[in-house]
Amino acid sequence: MAIIEQPAPVGAPALPAAPTPTRTYGALRRPVATTGWKSWVFTVDHKKLGIMYGVVAMFFFIVGGIEALLIRLQLAAPNGKVLSADVYNQMFTMHATTMVFLFVMPMAAAFANYFIPLQIGARDVAFPRINAFGFWTLVGGGIIVNLSWFLGGAADGGWFMYAPNSGPVFSPSHGVDFWALGLQITGIASLTGAINLIVTVLNMRAPGMSLMKMPVFTWLQLVVQFLLLFAIPVITVALFLLSFQRNFGATFFDVSAGADPLLWQHLFWIFGHPEVYVLILPSFGIISEVLPVFSKKPLFGYPFVVFSGAAIGFVGWGVWAHHMFASGLGPVSVAVFSIATMAIAIPTGVKIVNWTMTLWGGKLRFTAAMHFAVGLIVLFTIGGLSGVTHSVAPSDTQQTDTYYIVAHFHYVLFGGAIFGLFAGFYYWWPKMFGKQLNERLGKANFWFMVIGMNLTFGPMHMIGLQGQPRRMYVWTEARAGEGFFNIAFWNMVASIGAFILAFGVLLFLINVFKTTRSKEVAPLDPWDARTLEWMTTSPPKEHNFDAIPTVHHLDEFFHRKYEQDPNTHEMKQVATAEDILREQEANADKHIHMPSPSYWPIVLAGGLPVIALGIIYSIPVAIVGAAIVVLALFGWSLEPSTAPDSDFDPPASGDGTKELAPLG
């Protein structure tokens, strides 16, 4: 299947021999490769980009995981000697940065990219080239953030990089510069991705798919993209201020010039709190797909889940200062934000009720994906409830910046976000690769992860409540308390748990490796699924659907397969996935024009890290980078999104779309 399907030449007259663009432009002609590395590097196909997002995110997951293991090694015993104070501070900063910005967000973006167009019955995203640009930008940002390890040390201020500790005096290495500029670049990726996906969801739904017939995953991703759209510019401002201070001598956080360090905290958390929902909502979406499928029941209270998702999106903007209860905001602000924070527990609680009720009365099949989904409900509940304990501001002043907080957000982000992503891996793997991950290994993977995770983060509740602050490169026996179950004991348990957890993740990688090598092909509809992405081949064709389906129901695919017997009221299967696919292929649309691959996204994305390096080391290099960016922008806007016919080899005579300066 070629990327560009040429319309069949119907009685075309013989044209005079035209000069061939292949020869004229040589290496500069538009890429049209459909196989080999070029087909990946220059692709604009949302599915290939989704897979590449996933691979990059997985890589950074391993990097972040190794950082975490080193941290736990250092803290296993008092006065740890594995890492120096300096390296330890870099380690926890980069662990958080990597996990948040380079693993969970890109992995959620991987699923969004791959499945949103499929779930809404579209052939691609709204702006395919912007999509490719977003991916390569993320790669560039990730490289810049991590490059600092090799160029004089990474950022060492903690992931929220409080001013003035992040200023040029208190963090003299280039680490924070790399960090700020790298995140600025990944921010561009998130912002363009958000615009792209919002337009895709709002504009490109299949006929009949009203917003309230959209799959929950797409819905919650839509909320996430709106959060990103409005949160990213705030952190952009904060990072600009920080960079200008560090690189151009501005004084935004320099207290001796009269600056207020709390400005950074406000800007950071106005971004940072919505960011928390950016991390968790995609996983909520995934398990809201997985639970109904394996319960053979629709999601309980679909509108409630959707509206509570939107409510979280809104209220999430009004609670940022609960990260600052100890910062000295004054009692009125503290009280207001404390109450607002409690309010946000309500829509979150609604979701847990709905998931539990989805299970209730179902026909539950415990596949690996289902294991992770149920695991998420339980673990997230623990994280959510410990969250309620520190929405109570006075109580938070005892807990904040201790290990209790570390325990809380790992239950939410590991037990919540990451378990959701793993549920997604097991659930969607057959769709993405046409092969099924091994279920037995998958369940082993789950049990090791769930036990490891509880052993690692469970004890952190104790450690924190007994007063061990976070971000400490050593702890001392003098303050560990007496008795057997003292802080020393729990620290050791947590470190052992971390390795069990890591082994669980390793099992997943082994599973992936084994599955890739095996020749066994997955069935077309292995889970008896409910949504549109399963209505095409596995993996899907380049153009996703031969015929764009018309949607009549929520869970359209399920309702095409099953009908209720009017007499017995029992659900009866009336068609198989194969039947439905065959019917679609028989009524295939003619003349499908897919967007062509392009050089410009990767060139444009490549200019940004050059600018970043230039700002850090030498301004002329930044100018070179800026020139690349400008050149690529213009090359991009002068290039039609679908290649003109003369770009084909041999040149074609179709009616390709040649338009002026398309943005996407």
């Binding site: 500790n165 100890a326 009280a335 410990s386 509740h461 308390g481």
Partner: protein, 399 residues
């Protein structure tokens, strides 16, 4: 069904662990659940019920999930009816937690404002954070016999049963002052003054630690609050107001004084110390240290700790003796200070030999470009063993 049972157990582990095992470690000095003063008590009264409620809600959820998992496993039952929800149930499940939280909110509200009161306090102390130690200075308050400002570091000394108001600020980055047994934490933000109420019911030492990440040695930026009953506190104040005496001529300590004048006085002030010409020796930390101050050592031996409360000046046994002294005797033992036989020579000498090796600090002279050559912390002074002997002898006289 063993799987579901195991799942339930594993899932509930975290929360039940919180509920059951928190009490298992006895006497963790920074335990947040053992209040020793009215402010921390208020927090505790608020948080314990919240923990209980959270625990109960959690157990209900786990039970429901476990039941569903066990009861509705696929045993070949027919495909269930495709119901999309029960609005009444859902509205109910929205209102119920809302009411619960509203209840918690009322009590939270009250406690927030109680803890923020500043108009009923009886004493103020300035607390200044600096990388990586705390400085305390007591403004003139004649009611407590403080006729001249007192300055000390590492250990905050307060009278029992007195509502003390800390005025926190910082000289460099954000730190956070936290004595869990007495109150929650409050950030010390440079350029701002924040308040924190402290009050201890009984005499004793209460441990704490900096809880806002403040750079390299954040992990060893510790502090202690010492509560003395009112009479002992008055005695302490009296002692602190005195100037340091010069050691007798010809003693080792006298030689130590001249080492101190050569080296230490560049940063460390000893009130009453005089140069050879008889003029007062004034430390100039602002010329050598980025943040502009170094601990005042006038009454070093009245404090039990040094280097930002990171190490003890008392040997292990003596420390235990003081920390575990019963309420009535504690004051006397604390006021005795560090006697010669109790002095922890090992750590003190190690510190004088090479401070940055003991506590990481930005003290490498080759890497001080961004700070105009000023240190952040104490550099390695390269003292000879001889000088160290003399210095220890001198420091031991600073009572």
């Amino acid at each position: 069904m063993p799987t579901s049972v195991r799942r339930f157990v594993a899932g509930a582990a975290g929360l039940s662990a919180v509920a059951l095992l928190a009490g298992c470690a006895k006497n963790a000095p920074q335990d947040t659940w053992q209040p020793k003063g009215p402010n921390a008590q208020k927090i505790d009264d608020l948080q314990k019920p919240v923990f209980a409620i959270a625990g109960i809600v959690g157990l209900i959820v786990f039970a429901a999930v476990a039941y569903a998992v066990f009861r509705f496993k696929d045993r070949g039952q027919p495909i269930p009816e495709q119901t999309h929800g029960k609005p009444v149930l859902e509205i109910g499940m929205t209102i119920l937690p809302a009411l619960l939280l509203a209840g918690i909110g009322v009590f939270t509200f009250r406690t927030i404002f109680d803890l923020a009161k500043t108009d009923d306090t009886e004493m103020v102390i300035n607390v200044t954070g600096q990388q990586w130690w705390w400085e305390y200075d007591y403004p003139v308050q004649t009611d407590y016999g403080i006729t001249n400002p007192i300055i000390t570091s590492g250990q905050l000394v307060i009278p029992t049963g007195t509502k003390v108001l800390l005025r926190e600020t910082s000289r460099d980055v954000i730190h956070s002052y936290w004595i869990p047994a007495l109150n929650g934490k409050r950030d010390a933000v440079p350029g701002r003054v924040h308040y924190l109420r402290l009050e201890a019911d009984k005499p004793g030492i209460y441990a704490g630690q900096c809880t806002e990440f403040c750079g390299l040695s954040h992990a060893v930026m510790r502090m202690e609050a010492v509560a003395l009953d009112k009479a002992d506190f008055a005695a302490w104040v009296k002692g602190q107001l005195e100037l340091a005496d010069s050691p007798a001529e010809g003693t080792l300590a006298k030689e130590g004084e001249s080492v101190f004048l050569n080296q230490c006085v560049r940063c460390h002030q000893v009130n009453g110390l005089k140069k050879a010409d008889g003029s007062p020796a004034i430390a100039a930390p602002e010329e050598n240290v980025w943040s502009g101050a170094a601990p005042n050592l006038t009454h070093l031996m009245t404090r039990n700790t040094f280097a930002g409360a990171s190490w003890d000046l008392l040997t292990k046994e003596c420390r235990k003796d003081v920390w575990e002294a019963p309420g009535g005797e504690f004051g006397k033992k604390y006021l005795a200070g560090v006697t010669e036989e109790c002095l922890n020579q090992t750590d003190l000498r190690r510190w004088l030999r090479n401070a940055p090796a003991m506590k990481p600090m930005y003290a490498d002279p080759t890497k001080l470009g961004p700070t105009d050559g000023k240190y952040r912390g104490m550099p390695n002074l390269g003292l000879s063993e001889d000088d160290i002997d003399k210095l220890v002898a001198y420091l031991a006289t600073l009572k």
